[in-house]
């Protein structure tokens, strides 16, 4: 049972964060609404990847493979924004 303890803790954290998401949705933060929701969602995704998907215990190479796609995501965001922001 003890070996599974961390999974229950993470599960609990995910439930709490879900509750936080719901609670925050009642507040009107203007532009920050989406930012806060995305931040909490990212935190949750990070917990799932690190613990449930064992990323925390993987070798650095695997960790690198998991992180690298975020650079690609960054590229597509920057590239499209350079167009969208400067368009007349």
């Amino acid at each position: 049972m003890a070996a599974y303890k961390i999974y229950f803790v993470v599960w609990g954290a995910l439930l709490v964060l879900t509750a936080v998401t719901v609670a925050v949705s009642y507040l009107n933060l203007g532009l920050w609404n989406a930012t806060v929701a995305l931040a909490i969602a990212s935190l949750k995704a990070g917990l799932v990847a690190l613990y449930f998907m064992h990323l925390r215990h993987e070798i650095k190479l695997v960790l690198g493979f998991a992180i690298f796609p975020f650079l690609i995501l960054g590229l597509i965001l920057v590239g499209t924004l350079v167009d969208a922001i400067y368009r007349f």
């Binding site: 796609p69 597509i76 350079v82 400067y86």
Partner: protein
């Protein structure tokens, strides 16, 4: 080879020993899966090639001829979509890559053989859906630009589902190769002892895994817009049609390197073997493959210079585009340096590899014309562009594929092809190719737009030249395939190492046994030590 070549069926046919539908359809042998990919992709090369011949035939005359304008639009859409998605993307990676990655790194199969078979069948499922859309054929061009693709009654949703499946196959194949190359190399084969084809396939797989999901999501968004009316791309609903182009080219530009990098890998294998010299600049060629893969992700906006994208973005993308030429140029200089003072022989694989270098220089450099913002405004959507990408894709990738098919035919089939016929085919293919596509550079500079079914009469002369060229090209391809098929049945038996290659696939039998090697080889050196004094003499 002996004067009276032995053409009778040998007792041991290696991995080809088993017969029957089930032995192929349910196989987990990477070689058999590779062979199935070869047949499938070459089949679509023939179909899409016939469509191209029909298009060229119609363009013999400036006015209406043969078929309606709508049919013309459908035909060039199908030609493009089939050539890109069903032939050229999987043709080298999935087909030759599947067959030769395990052989070149000295292992018994890919890391996930069952996943490999799944990748093939999901590819076939995607083809079935794609071909099914011919019931309401597409006329959008292979790029499916919105808003037209979001509004037309053609089967866009079904087609995007088909291409989604094909993309899935591409991702899984790339994943399989990455893991295979990381974990399955023969004892002693460090990264710098890997053949350059493996480096090229590694870079290719990285692009496949990272960029293909983007087109998958784009197709889902397009389907959601068409089916549920959600406004991702429709400006009336707050969407942005250019967003589609950003997403589309974020995949489709890196994917041109999925097409070209493996061909470059084949050229890097063939050139040192037939020049009998160690490859020049091994690390430069290896790392330039990775550099092309990475820089390839930074340049997609150069497809959108005249589409209404911001000028700032245009300038940035134009600037970045020039960087791709650097690693490509490095490879070309390294191949030429490898040839320098080599003992070059001109067997058919080498002829195709040299054609690759020659034609790809033209294709690559004209790409810089198009990457330059100001010139592109002038030649965008003209035949100049059509000529450019046919020089890179057909003059580049397809020549690399043909080089690979000739180079590895003895290993794959256990039989030799007829070299005289192969050379005649090469003459026709290369001369026909240039006669077909070089006039298009001139037509484009003169302003002939692409994709139009009709054109002003003043362009007719060069169009006639191009159409006649396409017949020679087709004749060359027919002779090449006929040579292959005839040799499959009764070509002379191939020795294990007909070209005196040093990579591991030549150390096993032709054709290889079911698990590739009777004993896994141990690697003690890089595979390019050609031209040493104790080298075996030519047969």
């Amino acid at each position: 080879m002996a004067d009276h070549p032995n053409t009778s069926l040998p007792e041991d046919r290696g991995y080809l020993s088993e017969h029957g539908f089930r032995s192929w359809a349910l196989t987990m042998d990477h070689k058999r899966i590779g062979v199935m990919y070869i047949w499938t992709t070459l089949g679509f090369f023939v179909v899409a090639g016939i469509l191209a011949l029909l298009l060229r035939l119609k363009l013999l005359v400036p006015g209406p001829a043969l078929f309606s304008d709508h049919t013309y639009n459908v035909l060039f859409t199908m030609h493009g979509a089939m050539m890109i998605f069903l032939f050229i993307i999987p043709a080298i990676p999935s087909a030759l890559g599947n067959f030769f990655i395990p052989l070149l790194i000295g292992c018994r199969d890919v890391a996930f053989p069952r996943l490999n078979l799944f990748s093939y069948w999901i590819f076939v499922a995607g083809i079935a859906v794609t071909v099914g859309t011919l019931a309401a054929p597409m006329d959008t061009g292979w790029t499916f630009y919105t808003p037209y693709s979001a509004q037309t009654s053609a089967a866009v949703t079904a087609l995007s589902f088909g291409l989604f499946l094909i993309g899935m196959s591409s991702i899984l194949t790339g994943l399989n190769f990455i893991v295979t190359i990381h974990t399955m190399r023969a004892p002693g084969m460090g990264w710098y002892r890997m053949p350059l084809f493996i480096w090229a396939m590694y870079a290719t797989s990285v692009i496949q895994v990272l960029s293909t999901p983007v087109i998958g999501i784009t197709f889902l968004l397009l389907a959601a817009e068409r089916v549920f009316g959600i406004g991702f791309f429709d400006p009336a609903k707050g969407g942005d049609p250019l967003l589609f182009q950003h997403f589309f080219w974020f995949y489709s530009h890196p994917v041109v390197y999925v097409m070209i990098l493996p061909a470059m890998g084949i050229v890097s294998e063939v050139v040192p073997v037939f020049a009998r010299k160690p490859i020049f600049g091994y690390k430069a060629i290896a790392y330039s493959a990775l550099a092309i893969a990475l820089i390839g992700f930074l340049v997609w906006g150069h497809h959108m210079f005249v589409s209404g994208m911001s000028t700032v973005a245009g300038v940035i993308f134009s600037f970045l585009t020039f960087f791709v030429a650097v690693p490509t140029g490095m490879k070309i200089f390294n191949w030429i340096a490898t040839l320098y003072k080599g003992s070059i022989t001109f067997e058919s694989p080498m002829l195709y590899a040299l054609s690759f270098i020659f034609l790809f220089i033209i294709g690559g450099l004209t790409g810089l014309f198009l990457g330059a913002l100001a010139t592109d405004v002038h030649v965008h959507d003209t035949y100049f562009l059509v000529a450019h990408f046919h020089y890179t894709m057909m003059g580049g990738t397809v020549m690399g594929l043909f080089a690979g098919l000739h180079y590895w035919f003895p290993k794959m089939t256990g039989r030799m092809f007829n070299e005289t016929w192969a050379k005649s085919a090469w003459w026709l293919v290369v001369s026909g190719f240039n006669v077909t596509f070089f006039p298009m550079f001139i037509l484009g500079m003169q302003g002939m737009p692409r994709r139009y079914a009709e054109y002003p009469a003043k362009y007719q002369a060069l169009n006639v030249v191009a159409t006649v060229g396409s017949w020679f090209l087709a004749l060359g391809v027919i002779i090449m395939f006929a040579n292959f098929i005839k040799s499959l049945r009764n070509g002379p038996l191939a020795p294990d190492n007909p070209w005196r290659g040093l990579t591991l696939e030549w150390q096993t039998t032709s054709p290889p046994p079911e698990e590739n090697f009777h004993e896994i080889p141990t690697v003690t050196d890089w595979p390019y030590g050609y031209g040493s004094r104790n080298e075996a003499p030519r047969e």
